[in-house]
Symmetry: C2
Subunit: 730 residues, 2 copies
């Protein structure tokens, strides 16, 4: 194993070290007045209650899946023996990252509010660095897990057939992503249902029935609502990107092992290490970027955004240069081309983020058009929002399509022949790594949003002075912008990662296929068997588009996306009803609440909502987990491949549609609240509120959950590939 | 050419003869009172104005496309020489069908109202037989065009290479579908925008600004609104199914010629004639079914539905038997299997219709759930409608997926190997023919709906007696049910036809490929070259799922669907605004209108709305036409194949989602109006109206337009296949 690999565990430890340092630094700050402390403590307790309940369910699910994997691996012998263990560590590490990230966020909010009592810069720095805890814990733990497994497998997997050794190692490591995916399912889907159920439930009983304002501490569901921001936007987003980050690195490592299987061990190692090293360097650059984010006192909104952009963009620019250096040092053949693929991935991420901002920010015409349509009532608000949301998918889909073609073309030397297929697929993988390389800092900007949001809420509820609230408001508005682009980035990276995983899936099938043929190192017409097999492979599995099994797969893939979206939409409605019932019960049984003499049972609301969310997410989750297995059993590898292509393409489009429509409705409402089209309280405002409410499950439940669906279905196919190959009906 | 072919022109002439007979019979009835005549005459003039304006645009578009085709065929020589002519006849015949169908519908409505003054049975019979004019004109003209071209091409195409002769004939005839598709684009997309622009425009100014009731003759847009029903639901639906009917027969003929290219000329002729003969027999059976539809006086809603079902189901049952006889007489190998595919197609159509009814009728829980959600306001109505609409795609997508697999499996003898691929694809084609075989009567039930609707409107506006309005109401309610299942049928058949067309597209590419190799009749390993080539073919074009060009195509296909849907949604909004401006102008410039002394300029509204619709449909239409060509030029056959798979799968899902969500909202509103959840005028009712308005462009514009998109994109790929093969960048 090349010595340079040591960089991976080192940056992992550095990242975790800085995460600890930022956490400690944040904990050293004062939480402020007693009221501020009390409110923060409730949210913290609520978040803990959420995690407790979620982990109860997660442990059961993990236990069941582990048993199945043990049977598959040791009983039926259609799965690698390491899978159950890799699965468990992936799940455990992702769970840890969520735990630490949410801890940091919930400890930070009151401290950020308090820091704003001193200066804006103090508040921004504290909020951002608390967000950075999440960012660095995620990348640190992913790199740590990769380091550990790569080392262990290098020792335990026999070196006899070197070409196959790295293939086996990387194929095994990929299944570690399944654990991360399963954990992300609960965090993102459950969290998404939770946050909107609490939000809608709190509004329906509190605002409409009891007539108390939003965020009033007498509403038992208020804390659940605030917890929801952390649950959905911190933990959910973190688990989502944990999965993408791990998935992209691991898939690319496998694709690298495959592409260079005939190029000698040194080159093959270089190809496998490239994604890991780029991620490691990107992590160090993220830390540099994080230290660059700071604001002058009295900074304008624009300046705040610029200061954050400076950190993010510096990291991105530096990784552009240093990734070239990494590839050059690794002496990979066609390193210029591979570097081109990385550039493509980075640029695609930026453009998708920009397009998200264009379609959802009130500074641009689409959102203003929705706001204007409010003058003819809620129906036209909905129609124009859906129209614009659908149209807004064109740029991201077009860009991803172009990115696929270019990333492939650069790495394959502009050859679309099957013989250069492996090189091209490696290019797609490395593009996704490029897009995610500086995740440490991009995730910090994402996690910053809900921290600033909660800080603002705390200031509001604690009745702090005008000056402080102005500062927290400035931080909060900034958070809304970063949240929108963060969502676009999360979806775009999920799509590209899923495609890399899909290519990796085919590699897994090929490994089985080659193992059946038992001639991995033979040369056929001067090409290594592993490459030459591909033509046989295609015939054997017939993954061409005229195979009806493939077409059936594509249809079922699209079906999965639509069904999953519909189920999560309805889940929010049902879970909200349970919350409504609980709040009504508390108001009725504890009359002291409304008088302000009895504290409501916040934790019970949190638990009810959590349990409701966990229950409601079961059906959509089982669909995501079972469909690939069922299709594999009936329609085999051809069916599964079609399934995944259908899911990824339509799931990506649906996710963008929902996120952007939801974001645009939200900001159209805010635009009207700023005084346009009649302002707050007008009929136009009421019409816009309808749009905003419809947008809630769009942008915070169904949309983000689709990120998980598309990755999880590929991962589920990867880990059960042996079942599809050995037992399929057709 | 086998003598039995004569059945096709004969049934065509019989169908056209009965259409003329029903038309004459209908014209022999009296139109009733002067008021009834006047109203009917306005609608008729409006429809004529619509057609005039539409044909102006259509002629220009056809001229431009014909010039392009002439250049492609005679200049660049990358297209069959017959294409420009086939294109023009397809367009002309589809246009004629629309013209006659709409004429019959607009002449019928007042006469149906008048017949209801005598008896319910008289009204039902007249309305249904007037609808049958459309049904029989469509099938008659399709069969006539097919008869003429098949005869002409049999004479003119040299018989030297028999195996190739039928391939060339059927491949040429397929391009006749391009004319039908282009005509359908204008009828369905333009008509869809028109009808909802007029509807929304009329409501916004009339009901809200001027405070006059719906359907008030003082509203200048009222007639446009009524014309819209004919434009969208009669002409649009007719052109849509004209295209599906022609496309499925022609694609299957080509697939048959391909599948049996090595089986001798007699068998090959049998395979080509099978879809035509089944359609011919189905047409005769449709006429039998039409004569079976009649109702007793005082018949209940259920009995009315039963009487219509009796006609439709008898035709379907008989075609099940007689299609077996046709296949047996043709002595096709594996005729039992091929017959199995027909059964699959017929059953799939029925199940999709049933599932549409389940998700959109207020007798079932989904629509009732939406109605119940109105108690928490419009936002929850929208959320639950979207949730249910998304979920409702599962059954149709699952059924079509299963139908693909089974239709393929039956015809291929349960072999999924490439060597039986052509037989399997023939099975998919013949399944779509089976689904559409009795179109004569199913389209009659569809066209019946708007006729009954307009008859009811006429009765309302003419202030006829209670008894008469009760009868027209009974007919109208029946029309709503048939409209819902008709929509499901139109979408399902569009998807299956598009898949058959996709398979035919691959055949077109193969024909080019084989022609390049110049050895069509040689035997390779005992298999005819045409079959054996397929493996070479797949390699040459690499239409496997790991080819990035295919993946790019799939993404762009999904993009097309989302973009097209968004554009058509927004088009309705903009076109409605133009209508609003015109109505305001008339109210202002002609004060006599409101006093009832001046007749409003109905025709001008109709023209404005028509012109607006034609203008608004340009952008989405160009997208549909140009994307396949652009993708073909850049990414070649692999890209186009991916594109079509992406478009068909996601377009089908989106169409079902939009049609069902829209239908469910509509009926949830009606359910509340029946007295549930507070009834008419309650807050719940207002919330449900928002859902209904959002549903209008869903179910009547964007949803049905997607039927055209998925077929047109395949047709555009078929006719420009030479461009993609000869000039593509990759």
């Amino acid at each position: 194993m090349p010595v340079v690999f040591i960089l991976v565990p080192i940056s992992s430890l550095i990242a975790l070290g800085f995460a600890y340092y930022f956490f400690k630094q944040m904990m050293g700050h004062d939480e402020g007045t007693d009221t501020m402390k009390k409110i923060a403590s409730h949210v913290r307790k609520g978040a803990a209650a959420y995690l407790r309940q979620q982990y109860k369910v997660v442990i059961i699910v993990f236990a069941v899946i582990t048993v199945i994997f043990v049977i598959l691996a040791y009983g039926l012998e259609v799965q690698n023996k390491w899978v159950p263990f890799a699965f468990l560590t992936g799940g455990a590490f992702s769970g840890l990252a969520g735990f630490f990230g949410m801890k940091a966020a919930t400890f930070a909010s009151a401290r950020v509010t308090n820091a704003c009592r001193t200066s804006l810069n103090a508040g921004l720095k504290l909020a951002f660095r608390s967000g950075a805890v999440m960012g660095l814990v995620v990348v640190g733990l992913v790199l740590l897990d990769i380091s550990a497994w790569f080392t262990v497998l290098n020792i335990f997997i026999p070196a006899a057939e070197e070409g196959l050794k790295l293939l086996t190692i990387t194929a095994t490591m990929l299944t570690f992503g399944m654990g991360a995916s399963t954990q992300a399912l609960f965090a993102r889907v459950g969290g998404g249902i939770y946050t909107k159920a609490a939000d809608v439930g709190a509004d329906l009983v509190g605002k409409i029935e009891a007539g108390i304002p939003e965020d009033d501490p007498r509403n038992p569901a208020t804390i659940a609502d605030n917890v929801g921001d952390n649950v959905g936007d911190v933990a959910g987003m973190g688990a989502d990107l944990f999965e993408s980050y791990a998935g992209s690195i691991l898939a690319t490592a496998l694709l690298g092992a495959a592409a260079f299987s005939g190029a000698g061990l040194v080159t093959q190692y270089s190809a496998v290490l490239a994604p890991m090293l780029i991620a490691a360097v990107g992590t160090l650059l993220s830390i540099v970027g994080i230290f660059m984010v700071r604001a002058k006192e009295g900074a304008s909104q624009k300046e705040l955004l610029k200061s954050m952009g400076l950190g993010v963009n510096t990291s991105a620019a530096l990784i552009l240069v240093l990734s070239w250096v990494v590839l050059y040092m690794l002496q990979l053949p066609n390193y210029w081309g591979i570097w081109g693929s990385i550039v493509v991935g980075l640029l695609a991420g930026i453009i998708i983020g920009q397009s998200t901002e264009y379609y959802t920010a009130s500074a641009y015409s689409p959102t203003r058009m929705i706001a204007a349509s409010s003058s003819t009532g809620p129906a036209t608000v909905i129609i124009s929002g859906i129209g614009i949301g659908l149209i807004s998918t064109a740029i991201p889909l077009g860009i991803i399509a172009l990115a696929i073609a270019l990333a492939y073309a650069f790495s394959s030397g502009f050859s679309f022949d099957v013989t250069s297929l492996n090189m091209g697929l490696y290019g797609i993988g490395i593009a996704s790594v490029g897009m995610l390389s500086t995740l440490g800092i991009t995730l910090a900007t994402d996690a910053y949003g809900p921290i600033a949001d909660n800080a603002g809420g705390n200031a509001e509820m604690s009745h702090l002075g005008e000056e402080v609230r102005k500062r927290t408001d400035a931080l909060d508005t900034l958070g809304n912008t970063t949240a929108a682009t963060g969502k676009g980035f999360a979806i775009g990276s999920a799509a590209l990662t899923a495609l890399a995983l899909l290519a990796a899936y085919i590699e897994e099938v090929k490994i089985m296929f080659v193992q059946f043929l038992d001639r991995p190192n033979e040369l056929i017409n001067g090409v290594p068997a592993y490459q030459a097999e591909f033509i046989d492979f295609i015939h054997h599995y017939d993954i061409h588009l005229m195979n009806p099994l493939v077409i059936v797969g594509v249809f079922v893939g699209v079906l999965s996306v639509f069904l999953f979206s519909g189920l999560t939409m309805n889940a929010v409605g049902r879970a909200a009803q349970q919350m409504v019932a609980e709040v009504r019960r508390q108001f009725k049984e504890m009359p002291g609440i409304m008088e302000g003499t009895t504290e409501p049972d916040y934790a019970r609301c949190v638990e009810i909502s959590t349990r409701g969310a966990q229950k409601e997410m079961m059906l959509p989750s089982f669909i995501a987990l079972l469909i690939p297995v069922i299709i594999g059993l009936i329609f085999g590898v051809a069916g599964v491949t079609g399934l995944l292509v259908g899911t990824i393409s339509s799931g990506f489009a649906m996710a963008i549609f929902m996120a952007n429509a939801g974001g645009a409705w939200d900001n159209a409402k805010k635009y009207i609240e700023e005084g346009h089209h009649g302002g707050k309280g007008s009929d136009n405002h009421k019409a816009a509120i309808v749009g905003d409410t419809v947008g809630d499950p769009f942008k915070d439940t169904s949309g983000p959950s689709l990120n998980i669906l598309i990755k999880l279905m590929v991962m589920a196919s990867v880990v059960t590939v042996g079942v599809a190959v050995s037992y399929s009906l057709f």
